[in-house]
Point group: C2
Chain length 132, copies 2
């Protein structure tokens, strides 16, 4: 999709404070396997915690709550997770999420795709190193 903080600009114009000009792209829909894995590791996590944990996977200090909650909803619609409101606690209402068997299955399938992608990136870097 668009590049972080660079919407509507040419690739070569996308500079800010002398920072790296390359697109801040990541593997498409990488948020989904990350959420699946996080929910495997920590069942009954709630959204805000998942938002924080996503930083471990490179989602950056400005993880987007819109993307997170929309993905969680879609994953629930697809039967990959289930959720319920946590009761009896003080503070803002919390919704906790749990992986389903289908979600666990998809996690394993994602891993195969991630392995392929890793290989492709490694191959790219090998060819690049041959030149520079």
């Amino acid at each position: 999709m668009t590049i972080c903080g660079q919407k509507g600009k040419k690739t070569t114009e996308k500079l800010e404070g002398g920072k790296c000009s390359c697109p801040e792209s990541r593997m498409e829909r990488f948020i989904q396997p990350c959420l699946l894995l996080l929910l495997y590791e920590y069942p009954y996590s709630h959204g805000y915690n998942l938002l924080i944990d996503l930083k471990d996977f490179g989602f950056g200090t400005a993880s987007d709550p819109g993307a997170l909650y929309r993905n969680l909803r879609r994953m629930e619609e697809d039967g990959l997770v289930s959720s319920k409101w946590e009761t009896g606690k003080s503070g803002p209402a919390k919704r906790v999420y749990e992986l389903t068997p289908e979600g666990e299955e998809l996690l394993h399938a994602w891993v195969e795709n991630i392995k392929r992608n890793k290989k492709n990136l490694e191959y790219f870097l090998r060819r690049y190193k041959k030149q520079f």
Copy 2:
């Protein structure tokens, strides 16, 4: 974007011939650094050859000529490559492409991003391995 051959379907419905159900996603806009590297390695390549060479990077047997030519046009608009029609040859008219200094510069910038992505995928796989 959408998943290869699975437009308009839920993730969990996206099965075909018992194949892997996971999304065939790749790093966003990965075609660009691949084209930049290919043009560094082989200056004056033409589109159709680049289409074939992209398979090395995981773009699959059905690399999309639409995506290729559109990306080449945008890269030329952005000053990353330049092109001219090859003359004096028989057969369909060929357009050959050449990297510009700006394009080479962006190639190096892309490499940093690709390294970060590789690290994130590796981190994900390490955490996954801890569980399974």
